[in-house]
Amino acid sequence: MSKNHKAAPMVDEVSEFEILELAVRELAIEKGLFTQEDHNAWTDYMHTLSPIPAARLVAKAWLDPEYKKLCIEDGVKASLEVGIDWINQMPTKFGTPSDYCNLRVMADTPTLKHVVVCTLCSCYPRPILGQSPEWYRTPNYRRRLVRWPRQVLAEFGMQLSEEVEVRVVDSNQKTRYIVMPERPKGTEGWTEDQLTEIVTRDCLIGTALPKPGKTANDKRYVRPAVNPYGH
């Protein structure tokens, strides 16, 4: 190491929100509202969440009309059958990583397509859907989806005819939403496991449609790097 070398921080910038979170967390621990252990337990729990339970919920509903009715009537109760207890499963036993315990399952029909957004910030049914994708939290998606839903959906590769009513759901209060898309053609005779595989996270937000053989979210279009590092 040359003697001119100056120690520099590994990370140049920490965002103000990161500093705010740290400060509030440390104050809360100091005041005894929760312990560092509680915080660790919560963080560990958050990392176990994924969209798989929600995918299974949709697959079950496709196979069982009675269960579908329950999903539409009481999403929290329906979640129990796919192993998600919105009320008792959380390390705190009263709050969820989505703040609240109200889930609505928005069922599409051949003439109705739902798509979910939170224009306020990023409300998302985390207990059953895991962490939201980055684009879901961007002001771009949030402000444009409510106003130009068809254009935004087209960017996701979904073009819908005028016979289909597009219904944007703005998650601005205590309800969290998932979309139950129509069961696609070509899945006749499939098992619940097979059907679960094609209900991707984007299908559950409403920005994609399930398709036989398609088990992953579409890649988002990104501009290629003009000056790629190391080439």
């Binding site: 929290v76 009263f94 315990c101 109200n102 009513e165 219904r167 209060q173 205590k174």
Partner: protein
């Protein structure tokens, strides 16, 4: 001056094993609106009540579901859970929200939740 007493466990006691908003069930009294009612979003001050989107203010909608009872979340931020009210899921026509919305897709809609204090009969 004596130290003020804050019952920091109040909400925990109430919601544990029941859930929120479920823990406020039955506290709002009779609902002012029913499914199918035409309502109008009141353009009230957004100084404290920030959750009703600006783009819905002053516009007409139809009640599609009485979803749950709750105090306004903005009140809860100040530890005030006294004014429990009904929350309504209401449906807007996109054409009403955005005048330039395409006539071709005039059946498109938007659904969101508005608390009872934010609505008046249309």
């Amino acid at each position: 001056m004596s130290k003020p007493h804050y019952d920091l466990e109040h909400h925990v006691k109430k919601a544990t094993g029941i859930g929120d908003p479920q823990c406020f069930k039955g506290e709002a009294g009779k609902a002012k609106f029913k499914v199918g009612d035409k309502v109008k979003v009141r353009d009230i001050s957004d100084l404290f009540y920030t959750r009703t989107p600006m783009y819905t203010r002053g516009l007409e909608a139809t009640v599609v579901r009485l979803v749950y009872e709750t105090p306004p979340a903005e009140d809860e931020a100040w530890d005030n859970t006294e004014n429990v009210e009904w929350m309504y899921s209401v449906l807007f026509k996109q054409k009403d929200l955005w005048p330039e919305y395409s006539d071709t897709f005039s059946s498109d809609t938007l659904e969101t939740e508005i608390p009872e204090h934010g609505l008046e009969p249309a």
